[in-house]
Symmetry: C2
């Protein structure tokens, strides 16, 4: 059914190929407008959810007339899929830190820090992703069951190797990844709750640094690891 967001369906081609029919002088208008629309859509979807988002609101935030949005993305649904595709591209990268020959504590700390950076710098992305999964993940089912599953299988095998060698505590490695995701993304997705409980209006860069240290320490200890106190 859901054939994955990445796959280019017939309807996608129009908005994906680079050689637009009668492109603008420097050819930048199309690119620029697409970026504006995608960024605006990302924010509106994060704030309102898919159902609550309106093309009018997206157009307004993008600074374009509504019909212009429909020119680039014929349906709201197409636009949503484009936003998700944009997001998924950057979702898997941070796991590159985790390789068999790396030091467990250092590699995992690197991964967790990368995730926390993403949480800090692109909270909106995390929220759209979270919202999609909470409401059933109909659009990204393909991504989850193929790309993501494959990557987790691969990386949890790496961790299983470490465990077999006695380099970290015996944990269920797949669930260990869930724990990492849960904790790191919590600070993006549930930031309203975090701020309310901490009594803070806004979390600063410095806050995030402190939180990251705490998160890294907690998760590593959960895996029977610790960083050298440099």
């Amino acid at each position: 059914m859901a054939q994955g967001v990445g796959g280019a369906s017939k309807k996608d081609q129009k908005s994906v190929r680079a050689d637009a029919p009668a492109a603008a002088p420097e050819g930048g208008i199309r690119r620029e407008n697409l970026r504006r629309i995608l960024t605006a859509a990302e924010q509106v979807f994060a704030e309102q959810g898919y159902g609550g988002a309106t093309t009018a609101a997206i157009a307004l935030r993008a600074g374009l007339p509504k019909a212009n949005v429909h020119y680039y993305f014929s349906t709201k649904h197409d636009l949503y899929r484009a936003v998700l595709a944009d997001i998924l591209k950057q979702w898997l990268d941070p796991l590159a830190h985790v390789t068999p020959d790396s030091d467990p504590a250092q590699a995992l700390a690197g991964y967790i820090r990368a995730k926390m950076r993403a949480t800090r710098d692109r909270p909106v992305v995390s929220k759209v992703f979270a919202s999609e999964i909470i409401h059933g993940a109909a659009e990204i089912e393909g991504f989850l069951t193929s790309d993501l599953k494959k990557l987790v299988d691969e990386k949890s095998a790496v961790l299983d190797g470490w465990i077999a060698e006695g380099r970290m505590a015996p944990v269920d490695t797949r669930h260990f990844f869930f724990f990492i995701w849960a904790v790191t993304q919590h600070y993006a997705d549930f930031d309203a709750q975090v701020r309310a409980v901490l009594g803070r209006k806004k979390l600063t860069r410095r806050d995030f640094d402190a939180i990251t240290v705490e998160v890294v320490r907690f998760i590593l200890r959960g895996a029977g690891l610790s960083l050298p106190t440099a």
Copy 2:
């Protein structure tokens, strides 16, 4: 601004007070219909989000005509607030386990298990709550900044006491609660992702028991604790 979902505004009174004007014979019709509507609404809000949910869909699932839903809740927004109020009542209870004189490992394990039970038995509740927070928590801001903050302040003081006595590792206790929430609720909110990565169609009761053991062990270890291997 948001005066909290629990507070009874003028508009709420109609749907909250027990003595309905011309109640049914056994007085059960109103109660029954309210239950049906709230349960249906909970599910539809969880699946579609607030914006995506329609009163027609809620009425359909409740097995009532649309106008009947509007009879009990004059607006969709009122109904949403009622669903949230219903949820918040049961949100704080499990923390009762955590008291100064209890054993840290046992008390925290009890709390985590209670949260995992809630995750298993009422995933829909967790999803509505999560969705609300992700999209800014406008409706429950009051609850978060008063009731929840107060409770967390109180309970984190308990943990700080344990830490001072050397009964658990020195962690930032507020963030420690965030870690617990993040991990436990992950299995309700992100179940689509969990199932996809594990390659399972459905998580059974037995799965949840196993996951709970893993979660308890992980979090306790993160706090420098462990359960006696009974």
